[in-house]
Amino acid sequence: MQKPLLTLDTLPPGSNAKIVSISGSGGWVYRLYQMGLTPGTIVTVIVNYGAGPLVVRVRGVDISLGRGIARRIIVEPL
């Protein structure tokens, strides 16, 4: 059974997930790719207080994401 797909902003701190896709278009998405958030990449949620920006670790780098952006990232929890 495949696990259900969620958006990144719903994951608790400490959890790992694999990026499935990023919805939407425009400059933000491109920037996300360039910063290494491409589908297939594993992200670790470091900070998520349920409000305010998240901090995630991707390819060894900590990146802070606004909630609106995190909501557009579809992930598969691991």
Partner: protein
């Protein structure tokens, strides 16, 4: 130029890297900071060039803007790419951060796909061991076929080896062909575009495979290029191939290519980069508190307030002197004030004036030198230590990696006024000087948010205005002075928030905005590098001294002239008969509502007019027109009430920072409309603020 120099062989070295890889630092180390700053052709992005003599060669280093990729989606990316493809540097250094090679390698790989004479430079290697990172540079060198050099700007390790490699690559050339990445199932599509282009090979002057890949990823600049060189039909064929990818894989081509590249990097670094887990450091753990919803903003604001208080006390004795005086130690308070750095410089200038008086006597010349120049420049120079101190703290916040954490912590609050955490860095810089602050808004990804910020950053009291605020506060007694400073900053904060909110609201009405969003890299927190901090401090100091030596010097002479000569150009000792007085009286009625009359009104109006050019000169204008040594004495001579001083201070903080800021606002927005609108907004807000302060003051 000397013969000797031209005979030397010149090697042009481009330096590229992602933001935060340590590019500026390495560039400064390589060039010994003998740097020439200009603009890239046609844009206001700064171009830094530096020269280094090495082994009989003249190495000309060109610092390319910090970018994530070569996709030409931003001005910076366009500049970097154009430079590499058109100017073909003898050597291209691409920096990779050894603390996170997996991510920063992305730019290096793209560079290798389009260029051959490349050296991969791993930066910050002094940090790798503490983080349990081990990198096999030899292996990487073999896998990529270009030199890989590991350096540390902090310790100087590897710098000579890098210079050797530069000379070597310049004379022997790099790889024979650009790097070829296997794009797997995308290869047939690349091939088909390549074939279309190859038919017209001679016309395309860039590497064909690279152009093909870029076109499939979607690249406006190259599409334009193909249309121009090969015609519309060819371009349409190519774009069809691109659409085919989208249809077959149900995903956007740029996403597929980015993913392939990262997969390639993963494979490339397997066995080359080994991470031994060391757990999170204590420093890292402490910074996590910055992300907490309410603890974070509290910590950030607390940090900033401490920074300002410490800087103030060391320089001006303030607020320590007030606290001591209130505790009942007036003697101690006075000592703190007199022996503060500012106090010492002031004493020096006074001694100089007195000495010159004693040897020159009363004359027009001595009036010019002592009242005009020393009075004008000296009153401002007093604040040099303050400038250095604030620059020091800002540099520490920036270099330690603390400032992006502050950005994250304040993001949520800032969204309420329509800006994101990206605004924090420009705002912080704004406390130093509005000019770099306006320029640094380039890093704000949302273009509308950027415009709003450019229009509102001038409300942030820069050091020049801080200097005037402090001077005005010194005219009030003890605690009221402290309250005035606080009040000034609060007024600035309110104006900044209010205008931002309103502009955001207008943008929203016009349907031009989305919610402010944050996407920010958080570099590891670390001890600031002393040398880097010193560079920042020195840059601000130099900037300030230059300003004091040129603009303020000239303005002081102009002020002296305007307030020493009558309209019929005869010298007079009575300032109220001078050209300046006549001019300023035209504007004086604007100050009637706060109860200023006669001399008071025109002198203040005059100072504010002069302050339009450079804020520090408000002080010079006051001291020169009144003949006082300090702003405090000048304001006392004018017999202004405390409430009037407070009202004028508020106006002074909020109306137009200086000419230089207006100029940079114009060059960044390229719109007179925006600049004029900003001036209008600033003047009205300042005026309303002044009247409001006066009325509140009268009520209290």
């Amino acid at each position: 130029m000397e013969n000797n120099d031209t005979a030397k062989k010149e090697i042009v070295v481009g330096v590229a890297g992602q933001p935060n890889v340590g590019k500026s630092t390495l560039f400064n180390v390589l060039t010994g900071r003998r740097v020439h700053v200009a603009n890239w052709p046609g844009v206001t992005v700064e171009k830094h060039e530096g020269i280094r003599e090495y082994m009989g060669y003249r190495l000309r280093f060109i610092d390319l803007p910090g970018i994530y990729g070569f996709s030409a989606t931003t001005i910076e990316e366009k500049i970097a790419r154009r430079f590499i493809l058109e100017e073909k540097p003898d050597v291209l250094l691409v920096l990779v951060d050894s603390i996170n090679p997996e991510r920063t390698m992305y730019l290096a790989i793209q560079a290798l796909e389009m260029y051959t004479r490349v050296i991969i430079v791993f930066t910050k290697i002094d940090e790798t061991h503490a983080r349990g990172i081990h990198i096999n540079y030899e292996a990487l060198n073999r896998r990529l076929g270009v030199p890989v050099v590991a350096v540390s700007s902090a310790t100087g390790q590897g710098i000579n080896e890098l210079l050797d490699k530069i000379v070597e690559v310049a004379s022997s050339g790099g790889r024979r062909k650009p790097l070829r990445i296997d794009y797997g199932e995308l290869e047939p599509f690349i091939l088909s575009v390549e074939q279309v282009l190859e038919k017209n090979d001679s016309k395309i002057k860039y590497p064909i495979r690279w152009v093909s890949i870029r076109l499939l990823e979607g690249d406006r600049e190259l599409e334009e290029y193909v249309r121009r060189m090969l015609g519309e039909k060819v371009l349409i064929d190519i774009l069809k191939t691109r659409e085919e990818i989208r249809r077959i894989f149900h995903r956007s081509p740029e996403e597929l290519f980015a993913q392939k590249r990262f997969e390639y990097i993963e494979k490339l670094l397997r066995g080359v980069v080994v991470r031994v887990h060391v757990g999170i450091t204590r420093r890292e753990r402490i910074t996590r508190y910055f992300y907490h919803p309410w603890l974070g903003p509290f910590l950030s604001i607390f940090t900033l307030i401490i920074v300002f208080l410490v800087a103030f006390s060391i320089n001006t004795g303030f607020p320590l002197n007030v606290i001591l005086a209130d505790l009942g130690y007036p003697g101690l308070a006075e000592a703190v004030e007199n022996y503060s750095l500012g106090g010492l410089i002031e004493a020096g200038f006074n001694a100089l004036s007195n000495y010159l008086y004693s040897i020159m006597g009363e004359s027009i010349i001595s009036s010019l030198v002592i009242n005009g120049i020393i009075g004008g420049v000296g009153a401002v120079a007093v604040f040099l230590p303050l400038i250095m101190m604030v620059a020091f703290f800002l540099a520490v916040l920036e270099d330690s990696g603390l400032s992006p954490r502050i950005a994250v912590s304040l993001h949520n609050w800032l969204t309420r006024i329509g800006v994101s955490g990206h605004a924090v860095f420009p705002m912080l810089l704004g406390f130093g000087c509005n000019v770099p602050a306006v320029m640094s808004t380039r890093a704000v990804p949302d273009p509308r948010e950027r415009i709003r910020l450019i229009m509102t950053i001038p409300f942030i009291p820069c050091q020049a205005r801080l200097v005037v605020i402090l001077a005005f506060a010194s005219a009030l007694s003890g605690l009221s002075g402290a309250l005035l400073i606080l009040y000034g900053y609060v007024a600035a904060f309110i104006a900044f928030s209010l205008v931002n909110r309103s502009l955001y609201w207008i943008d929203k009405k016009r349907g031009r905005v989305s919610e402010p969003e944050l996407l920010l890299e958080l570099p590891p927190i670390h001890k600031p590098i002393p040398r880097v901090v010193w560079w920042h401090v020195w840059d601000s100091t130099k900037h300030f001294l230059k300003k004091a030596g040129t603009i303020i010097f000239l303005l002081s002479i102009l002020i002296w002239f305007l307030t020493s000569y009558t309209p019929s150009l005869t010298y007079t000792g009575d300032p109220s008969q001078t050209i300046g007085a006549y001019l300023a009286r035209l504007f004086a009625p604007f100050l009637y509502p706060i109860g200023l009359r006669g001399d008071q009104a025109w002198i203040i109006a005059f100072a504010l007019i002069i302050g339009f050019v450079a804020k520090e000169s408000v002080i010079s204008a006051l001291t020169i027109t009144t003949g006082a040594d300090t702003a405090r004495d000048a304001l006392r001579l004018l017999k202004l009430t405390d409430v009037q001083i407070a009202s004028i201070t508020v106006f002074m903080i909020l109306y137009v920072p200086c000419m230089a800021t207006l100029a940079v606002m114009l060059s960044e927005t390229r719109s007179w409309k925006i600049v004029l609108a900003s001036i209008g907004i600033m003047l009205s807000i300042a005026y309303v603020g002044m009247l409001f302060t006066y009325m509140i003051g009268l009520l209290l």
